[in-house]
Structure formats: structure tokens, C-alpha cells
């Protein structure tokens, strides 16, 4: 039942960590809903390129989000 609810930015998440999405900025919200990612989803980080994109996975789908956008998405880490 323990969940850390502290909000951090997506670019701070490390590979294989699970997180849920708290807030996505408007400019990419619609694009991400289409790809299957929206507020409230619990996802896993697959890869993180230093100074580069974060790759996250939902079901079998892998999606890369560039560093700039990743720093705008608020998430909370899950255990």
C-alpha cells in the first residue's frame, strides 16, 4: 500500500523504474493520448539516454520522449 506520491519529472526516472503519470503539458498531451499515454497511467522506463530521450513502455509499445518534453512531464515513482 506504500506509494511515494512525490512529484518528480520524467527525465529523473531511471531504467526499469515504474512510475505513474501525474501531469502532461498541453502541447504534447493530445499526441501522447493517441499513442496510448495519458494522465494516471502506470508505465515502466525501458531506457534513458544521457542528455537524450527517455524510452517508456506501455504494454508492448515503446515510446521515446525527448529530453525537453521529459523534463515537463510530472510523474510519481511507484514501487
Amino acid at each position: 500500500m506504500k506509494k511515494t506520491l512525490a512529484s518528480i519529472k520524467l527525465n529523473k526516472i531511471k531504467p526499469s523504474e515504474r512510475f505513474s503519470i501525474l501531469k502532461i503539458p498541453d502541447e504534447i498531451k493530445y499526441e501522447l493520448i493517441r499513442l496510448g499515454i495519458s494522465q494516471g497511467d502506470t508505465l515502466v522506463c525501458v531506457a534513458k539516454i544521457p542528455f537524450g530521450p527517455v524510452v517508456i513502455q506501455k504494454d508492448l509499445q515503446e515510446i521515446a520522449i525527448g529530453a525537453k518534453f521529459a523534463s515537463l512531464i510530472e510523474v510519481s515513482q511507484e514501487n
Binding site: 493530445y30 499526441e31 493517441r34 499513442l35 544521457p50 537524450g52 524510452v55 525527448g66
Partner: protein, 650 residues
Amino acid sequence: MPALVQKAIKVALVGNPNVGKSVIFNHLTGIYADVSNYPGTTIEIANAPIKLNQDEKFHPESQNYIFNLVDTPGVYGVSSFNDEEIATRDYILDADIIINVVSAISLSRDLFLTKQLTDIGKPMIMVLNLIDEAEFRKVEINIDELSSALGIKIIPAIAVTGFGMESLKQEIINAPDLKDQSNIHPGKISPEINALIEPFLDHTLSRGEAMLIAEADKNIAEKNNFQLAKDALDLREKIYKIRRKEVDELCKACVSKSGFSKRVFLGKILLNPLWGGVCAALILYLFLYKFLGNFVAGTVVDFFETNFFNNIYEPFIRNIVSKFFPIYHDNLANLLVSNPKAALGTFLAGDYGVLTLTVTYLYGLLLPLVLGFYLGLAILEDSGYLPRLAVLADGLLTRLGMNGRAIIPLILGGGCVTMAVVTTRLLNNKKEKLIAMSLLGLAIPCSAQLGVIQGLLTNIEGIRPWLIWGLTLVVIFGVVGLALNKLVPGDCGHFISDIPPLRFPRLKNLLKKTFVRTKVFMDEATGAFFVAAGVVAFFQVAGFLDKIIIFFEPLITQVLLLPREVGLSFILGMIRRDFGAFGLLEIPLTPSQIITSCLVLTLFVPCIATLAVMIKERNLKSAVSIWLASWILAFGFGAIFARFVGFFLS
């Protein structure tokens, strides 16, 4: 037989990027639309009638119809977020039947578009492609349940092998009792979303248009003189979220999965910052140096160019021509008046002869290289590697004012810069496009140049000349990119990309793609090449060649310390990049002269075709600036290299 008036039925292939639409288009029409495994490639929209074989069982009415199939650009949803979406949206609104192509391994992504299409309410069939991949990944899909939930027919398919294509064709062909009782139904419209769309339906709009206006599509609203409400975006979000929820529930009900595969593991390795980088370097080394540089430009070209064309073909032609006309070598005077017969002989089979050097160059050098390049590219594409490379390169390319996706035009530039400039469309904004275009124009050699450069560099022993040439380009590329990122206003680095699964390329598809692209390239190059070669050969016999060479002589001999004949290659390179190589291989050069010419040739101006595309995609000012900048860069660096590169070679 009386001529039939056929009614045209518009059929649109619609789906997310990279799900097999173009392959299906090939199967149904027999026409090859360029297929590749990255988004943004369906740029020229292919449109052709579905091919019907004589022996096929038709619906009795079907001969009264012609089915025009259109291969739309891949999109994740219908709206007007970018140019491709606008194009696809308009084809959807115009279509009579929609074929929604869906990838079985990414249903939760693909079904968003599907649900949007069923909400539009046009007759629709789903092609569930890649079912072999789904099986391989232990993804199980309950097709019957999915079909009844969506209210549309689903055809399982493996498009690359042709599986499912015949049933798809039958479905479409048998559709035309459209009027009374259609075989193809519109899907089920979501009642929750329908309630939100309904208020917009009284505006003499089609259902699709009403849905798009409800989803705050500005473009469609304007077209119908409809004023969007202030909170239009909230409604869009509401609809999108409902649709997303419906898709997620649908997936939960119809898709189950288990297992883990080696390819998933490899996919992870390729995205690892360290190992992915090592793999990328290794792949590029194998592709550019080992395969293109050593094997194709070295072994294969040597075999064809030297053994066949230089030693057998050219003497044979000269032998025949010289029976009728004298051939002059080293002639630089005007022969047209003094000796017209020799002028013709030299025109046909002299040093720059239309029948000799031109043919050798086209088929001995250019053809193997272009084949090699496109084969390598096809492997990178079909395996699903390019999007991973884009992820790895994103951080770097963002610093240079672009985003990871720019890796695609930059690599394509290694084939044909002109074609690559067209694909800069897949970048987000003007800034990214301008920077990618500039770098393509300045620092990326096309396959023809690569060929000559590789031909020249293999004349020097070892990997060192390659490293000098390559690293210099990398540095120039980086510095120009950094500078432009600072100078050009606007922002960059908008990168959201889905990563398609790794696939094992199929030989048949690789070969087909390679041959078709090579043919397109050669068809276009051959005519232009003969014309240009004809002009050069004519200039030679008319004595002009010498005058041009003399005019540029100071620049070539004083600034670049190169033999004056090299000037001709550069001049020709302005017309078409591959002519830049014309005759360069025949001129004896020292190692440092070789590296200098390779560098100048790479940096020098984009060819006329590229300029034209740049003007079309951007504007005259950008194109001219890039053109002038390349003069400065080419001769500036050339002058430095001519004097100092020797130190690195000894």
C-alpha cells in the same frame, strides 16, 4: 464490346506509420510504393486502381466499378497536427471505403485511430497485419470479439508474405452493392462520443467533419465557417480521453500476452547508452567503410570499372569508332572547324567520350554504389533499426538545433541529397528543417560523391585517410550545426517517437526495394548524365573546356594546390553532384591532393536539383545562402588542407 461507364470507388488505406500500408498497396495494385520502416516516408502519395485478374470471381456488379486505392501517409489520429495528417484526413473524408491497417503488436496504440475512424462512420474493413510477429511475441488476439466490438470485418494478414491479401481484395471487390446492402459496414459508433458530436451535426456537415470540429480541428472549422468555442480544446481532451479509455478496455478484453523474446532483449541493448552507441558505431563502420568503402567501391567497382569497362569495353568502342573517325587525346584546341571528323570521333570515344567515359562511369561506378547504398539502407530500415538510431542521436541532434528524427534525412543524404531534402518535412518546424537542409547541402556527400571519394581514398593505404576525411566532416558538421542552432531563432528538440519492434528483414523485400530505388535513381541520372557528358565532350572538341579550366585555374592551383584539370570536376559538380566526379579518378594526384579534393568535393555546392528542392521546401534566400556558404567552406577548408594535411599522412 460496348464501352462500360465505370463508377470510381475511392478506397483509402489508413493506418499508423509503419504498419504495412505500402506493402498492401503493392499487393493490391501491383504498383510499387516506396516502403520503409520509418515514419514520414509516404510523401508522394501513391494512388492506383486495384488490379483485377481475369480469373477472379467477382461480384456480378463489380465490373461496373473501378476501385481507386490511395496509400495515405501514416498517422496516429485524424486531425491537422501536421501536414501528413491534413493530407490523410482529407483522403479519409473523401473516401468511400476505408481500409484500416493495424499492427497486431501495437493494438493499444493503433486502435485509437481505428476508433476515431469508426466514429467518422464510413464503411470500413480492418487489416490486422503482422499476426506472425504477434504469435512470435506470444500476443494473443481474440479477433472475433474485437470484430464484434468494433462492428467491422477484420482480416488477419502478414502483408510481407501476401497472406490475407486475396481475402482483402475479395472483400473490396465485392463491396459495390454499396447502395442497397453493403458488404462493408461502418463500424460501431461510440455512444458516449456520439452524444458529444451530435450538437455539431446540424451544420450541413458530414459526420466526419462534425467529429473533427468537435475535436477542435481548426482547419475544418475554418473551411466550414464555423467559429470554434473558447473551450474547444477541453472538448477535444474529453473525447480523446473517452476514446483512450474505450481502447484500453477493448485491449484488455481482446488481447493477452505472455513471454519474452530474444529480439526484445536485442531491442533493449540497442537503446542502451553505451552498448547502443557501440552498436551504432559498429553498424556505421561496417556499412560505410567495410561494405560501401572496401567491398563495393573497392572490389566490385574495380572489377567492373577496371577489368570490364576500362580494359574490354572502352578499347572495343574506340576500336570501332576509330575505324571511321580519328580520336584525339590531350586535345584542347577547337576541332569543330579544323577537323570535324576528329571532333566527332573524340566526342564519341575520347577522354570524355559519350560512349566511353560516360558509360563506364554510369555502369561501372555509379550503379554498383547506388545498389550497395540502397541495399544497406533497406536492411537498416526493414530491421527497424533507424528509429532506434534516432533515439540515440536525439540528444546530440537537439544540440545542433534539430531532433532525433533528423538522422533519417541525414543518412538518406548519403544516397541522394535531393531526396533527403524532401524528407526534412518530417521535422517539426522551420528551424529544424533549415538546419537539416543546410547540413545536407554542406557536409553530407551523396552516393555518387561517396563513390568517387571512396575510389580516390582507396588509392592511399590504410584507414588513416578515411579517418581524416570523416572526422573533418564530423567536426564541420558539428560546428556548423552548433552555430546555426545559436543563430536561427525558434526552438527545437520536439521528439516523441514510437519505436517499432525489431524485425528480421525479408530478402525478397530487401531486393525489391533496392532494385526499385536504384532503378528510379538510374533512370533519372542516366538521361541527365548523357546530356551533361555530351556538353562536356562538345566543350572539349570545341576548345571551351580549356578556357573554363584556365578561368578557374588560379583558384584550383594557387588556393587548393591541385592540378588544374580538377577544376573541371568541381564546375561539373555544380550542375549535378555526381558529375563532380567526372574524370576525377583519371587525374593523377598525390595523397594530400586526394584528401583535399575529397574534402572540397564533399563540401562544395549542392547540385541544381537539390537547390530546386531547397527553394521549394524553404525559399530562395535559404537556398542561395547555403549555396554561397558552401563555396566559402569548401575553398576555405580546402586551402588549409592542401597545406597541412600532409603532416597527418606521414
